[in-house]
Symmetry: C2
Subunit: 165 residues, 2 copies
DNA sequence: GCTTGTCACTATGAATTTCATAGTAATATG
DNA sequence: CATATTACTATGAAATTCATAGTGACAAGC
């Protein structure tokens, strides 16, 4: 995609959007952060078609956010993992999550995931700083726990996906 | 767009992406945060076609991020402004900017915009907390200054846009 | 040794979206 | 009365997306 407005600009937002400015791409990244490393898990949980997943993973790899790791030869099978650049995207996803929780859901729907801030042992809240201790949140100092309802939703998606094959 | 994976999920990221999961949408929001409130400014600076701008603004209005304000009757003319929900999106853009500056540009290209943290009077850095005083950054406590190179880029885009009509 | 299952995709074609180019409508300005 | 300003709309070709189906390589069970 040649693109004079985003490739040749100094604007970091435009630059970023050429790499992650797509719904499926962000959903794939969400899954990688959620430790879904296999193609089928990503496909099932994002709801994308296999072509979409293939295309996004390929582009993410080209852009340096994702790397493939062989976990099986014969047949050749890969797992997808975040690189340093991919891991660095976490604050964006955290901010997007905070906005989504605050502005895209009714109050009675609960949180999908609750984070515990491991450095202080208490609830981290929505960030960017821990609501319990005030320190900036880093992904490696976080323990995630899915709300039962959200966990069930994911389990159901996986079952539905497997059943449809 | 009926969408069983993003409309019916508890995941705030998926919810958010149905509203802002698109390159043009994010670029339009960037312009609104940059205080471009007129249709043509947005069109010129994003590089989108008028249909794209129309469609995104309409959707953003429907989703409650943007409101139209009449600034002229006869002919009827509107300006586009962020609502509270739209303003609340700022941390996402800030995080995206930080990631873009850090990972989508070569070191020798400078920053596009530098922020001064008004509460401490010093450089705010890339956030989410002020690099000078450590406090969380809020948009209304920030003064933005465009790098001369970036300002020239924007001026040139505006000139090119006007010349092409 | 043959069927069934697993995993990661690819193939196909219709439907939708995007893009470039051009044009319109209402009014102000010189 | 001609030109400029502003905010769009129209059109059709090109590209992308989607749903549905299928493939290839192997493992595991019987």
């Amino acid at each position: 995609m040649k693109d004079n407005t985003t490739d040749q600009t100094l604007c970091p937002v435009a630059r970023a959007e050429t790499e992650v400015g797509d719904r499926w791409t962000v959903l794939v990244l969400r899954e990688l952060f959620a430790r879904s490393h296999r193609f089928e898990e990503i496909q099932a949980q994002t709801g994308a078609t296999p072509q979409m997943v293939t295309a996004r993973l390929k582009k993410l790899e080209e852009d340096g956010l994702v790397e493939r790791r062989v976990y099986n030869k014969h047949p050749l099978r890969h797992e997808y993992h975040l690189t340093e650049k991919g891991e660095a995207f976490f604050p964006v996803l955290l901010a997007l999550r905070a906005w989504g929780e605050a502005w895209c859901k009714s109050r009675k729907e609960g949180r999908a995931v609750n984070y515990t801030h491991l450095t202080c042992g208490k609830a981290a809240g929505l960030g960017p700083v821990c609501e319990s201790c005030g320190e900036p949140i880093h992904r490696n100092e976080l323990a995630a726990e899915r709300a039962p309802k959200y966990q069930r939703e994911r389990d159901a998606r996986w079952e539905a996906f497997k059943a449809s094959r």
